[in-house]
């Protein structure tokens, strides 16, 4: 008996096919999923997912976390593409916020909806010039 396995990441499909069994590093310990497993959903730790196709053949995949979803005849692994940690996400937030403030600081004059479009090109040119200057300045 076999079970259908899909391993996908947000950026690409990694594997899709039938397998005898799937092993995955769940958060509370390694799990092995055989066909007709009860519906089950869990987070994954970074580690190796192993798809056993037959006794002699198995495919290993490295995942840096993600989610494992099991239905009786279907296993779906939603793999993360990068290591996710709270402080890394937090740093990304700060960066994006800083960039927004920067963009707001480049504002030159007050405009309303009607003139917004006309000013658009100008604003972008200014931004680009600033970027260039910033690069030149190191």
């Amino acid at each position: 008996m076999t079970i259908h396995v899909d391993i996908v990441s947000a950026e690409a499909e990694l594997y899709s096919g039938l397998a005898e069994m799937v092993f995955a590093p769940a958060e509370l310990g390694e799990v092995g999923i055989a066909p007709r497993h009860a519906p089950f959903i869990t987070k994954l730790r970074p580690g190796e997912v192993r798809v056993k196709i037959s006794d002699s053949e198995s495919h290993p995949f490295f995942v840096s976390g993600g989610i494992l979803e099991v239905q009786p005849h279907l296993v779906t692994i939603l793999a993360d593409t990068a290591i996710r940690a709270k402080d890394i996400d937090e740093a990304a937030v700060l960066e994006a916020k800083a960039k927004a403030e920067q963009a707001l600081a480049d504002k030159t004059n007050k405009i309303d909806y009607a003139t917004a479009q006309a000013q658009l090109i100008q604003a972008v040119m200014q931004l680009r010039t600033l970027d260039r200057l910033r690069k030149r300045g190191g």
Partner: protein, 288 residues
């Protein structure tokens, strides 16, 4: 011969411009193919995650996540995907026009708007707009953006939603229909509309959650949002390249027409000068 020197220089400069636009067209064409492939590659994930959310929404979940609950709207958040560079026809302008219409509607309903932008064009536009608040920005992601690049701005919005600073979240990007047609679209991300998802399950059942439902759902919904935004970004990228290819193609064609016309004017001027010279000589000879 000194005739039509200006015209010749003009033809030369248009020829140079045409070379550039033609090169850009070809670059955009090859990039478009790649971005389209990337667009295809992101589909399985969002499809799968959508299926799981669908199951979750209809399984008798003992836990109702805040992302699934609609509340009164006082303030909304938008994530806007734009291109970094111009010269791609009306791509960004169309998107902004659509946005402005939506913004006006929200303004009439006294709803405040927070904006996070992806791409320098969006940053330039929204930093000058008085009616919205730019809270996050990311740009220069290049042709191969990674999900990790946009985690920051999504988290800003999700945090705001968690703290009830915003009550709805939207993503705005150009939808890729085909090479010639790109349609700006606004898609609602939060609250996730469980009712809108088609019910195709028979019987009621629930998952075994490990470690617990809250933790898993939290994770899953975050990823769901991220995958949709990422897909939007990738799709917008494909649109950018397609729009640029079309814009550059028409620019090259226009340059060709212009060169043709100028060449005609130049030839006429040259011919007129020769005729005049001959008639002068003939007149001179007759006078002698």
């Amino acid at each position: 011969m000194a005739v039509g020197k200006e015209i010749r220089t003009k033809i030369g400069s248009i020829k140079n411009t045409q070379k550039i636009t033609r090169a850009m067209e070809m670059v955009a064409a090859s990039k478009m193919r790649k971005t389209q492939n990337r667009m295809q590659a992101t589909r399985p994930y969002s499809k799968k995650i959508g299926q799981i959310i669908k199951h979750l929404a209809h399984a008798k979940a003992e836990y109702k996540h805040p992302y699934l609950i609609a509340r009164e709207v006082k303030r909304v958040g938008i994530i806007v995907a734009t291109s970094d560079r111009g010269l791609c026809g009306g791509l960004n302008a169309n998107l902004f026009r659509k946005m402005l219409a939506q913004l006006k509607q929200w303004q009439n309903e006294n709803i405040d708007v927070d904006v996070c932008t992806i791409g320098s064009k969006g940053a330039g536009f929204f930093s000058n707009l008085q009616t919205t608040h730019l809270v996050g920005q990311i740009s220069k992601l290049g042709d191969t953006p990674h999900l990790s690049d946009i985690v920051g701005i999504i988290k800003i919005m999700l945090d705001a939603f968690d703290e009830k600073r915003i009550d709805e979240l939207y993503v705005v990007y150009n939808e890729f229909e085909n090479t010639m047609v790109q349609k700006p679209g606004i898609q609602k991300l939060l609250p996730v509309m469980a009712d809108e998802i088609e019910h195709d399950l028979t019987g009621h059942w629930d998952y075994i959650y490990e470690p617990d439902a809250k933790d898993v759902l939290d994770n899953l919904l975050t990823r769901y949002i991220e995958s949709i935004v990422y897909q939007g970004l990738v799709e917008n990228n494909a649109c950018e390249q397609a729009a640029r290819m079309v814009a550059m193609k028409s620019a090259s064609d226009n340059a060709g027409n212009l060169i043709g016309e100028l060449q005609l004017v130049y030839n006429k001027a040259r011919q007129a000068a020769i005729t005049q010279e001959i008639s002068e000589i003939v007149a001179g000879a007759a006078a002698v």
